[in-house]
Amino acid sequence: MNTFRAALGRELLVLWRSPAEIINPLFFFVMVISLFPLAISPKPELLATVAPGVLWVAALLAVMLSLDGLFRRDQESGVLDMLLTAPVIPVVPVLAKLLAHWLLTGLPLVLISPLLGHMLQLPDGALGTVMLSLLLGTPALTIVGAIGAALTVGLNRGGILLAVLVLPLYIPVLIFGAGAVSAAAGGANVGGILAILGALLALTISLGPLAVSAGLKISSGN
């Protein structure tokens, strides 16, 4: 537990001192969504129809783009080797890293999403669902993406490979996330869909860090 706390503090500090890593995904998210009304048309009913998909696709891509460098600098500086030879199971520092990464890159997306939803003319009643669905969905996206990042950390240009590996696994989260927002905009009950998102999150939290650790070991030469 002490190891986890020390690792979490360290990860937050490292990220906090590289502000670009925090701002880039957020900036990407806001930019993509503000370009849509300009490109399609500012008609409220049209925007409200595409809004769930636009919000969710933008969030998904923002999370994925932030993950490419998740382990790279640790690998280049030799910290990853230290982590893998330490007497703690790698899941502990990996979990700390994922939590820190989500807190500083995923959570800001969740917090700003109601504003962007409002801009896309979603009914006010659906804005809570936008936040809740992203709150459940983005950690799952972070963890699943981290598996790909761990497997591609040894490669020089892992970006495209990461996308190919990870995007198919993102699809269930995308379908249920955007589905929840659509249902809420149509006035339907979203409890069931959010429960499925929650189940996906529980699955990735419990098994994801193990897969990330295994991926890191494979990348290091085991």
């Binding site: 020390a6 360290r10 600098r73 500086s77 030799g78 893998l84 007497p87 703690v88 030469g221």
Partner: protein
Amino acid sequence: MSDSSTRLELVQLGCERDDRMLFSGLSLTARAGEIWQITGANGAGKTTLLRILVGLHGFFEGERRWWQPQWQQDLLYLGHQPGVREELNPLENLRYACALNHQAGDPMAALAAVGLRGFEDVPAAHLSAGQKRRVALARLWLQRKAVWVLDEPYTAIDQDGVAQLDAQMQQAAEAGSLVIYTSHHRVGDGVQRLHLENGRAEVVS
């Protein structure tokens, strides 16, 4: 062959990389209190051998036996890269390494011992290569571990630092640690040397 002072046993260890035999048939017993120097030309497989020893490289034949099942508890491995993140200062880097490795000791004193007094809160990005290496080496001045595996610890270290490191390694061996390191620099007398050349590994001491 094996007794209570044995720390590491290698039996017919061999490793192939990119269709090239780095070494094969490597058998040795390393005991507490010994210093092993691994030499060889660039690309001879020194780093790979160390990575096999600490479990970072899994593709090898033969056997590698540590003295206890929980050997990682009592291992200090310093890799080819110093393991220092530029966003953090030396103290933060060292504290993280200690937390991860369950290594007790006073980080401030260790940094002072490696000549980084006054640099504790300077971002590592502003340190020289030698100073970054010293941040990693500061762990040798904390709680002593039973086995030290050091990959090129002398890289970028100045003359005084080399003498200091020699003394620290000898002191650890006298206190009962097994020290294994790669370098062309010889720590002192009584060092066992393992030389890797043309796919063969031989003990020359």
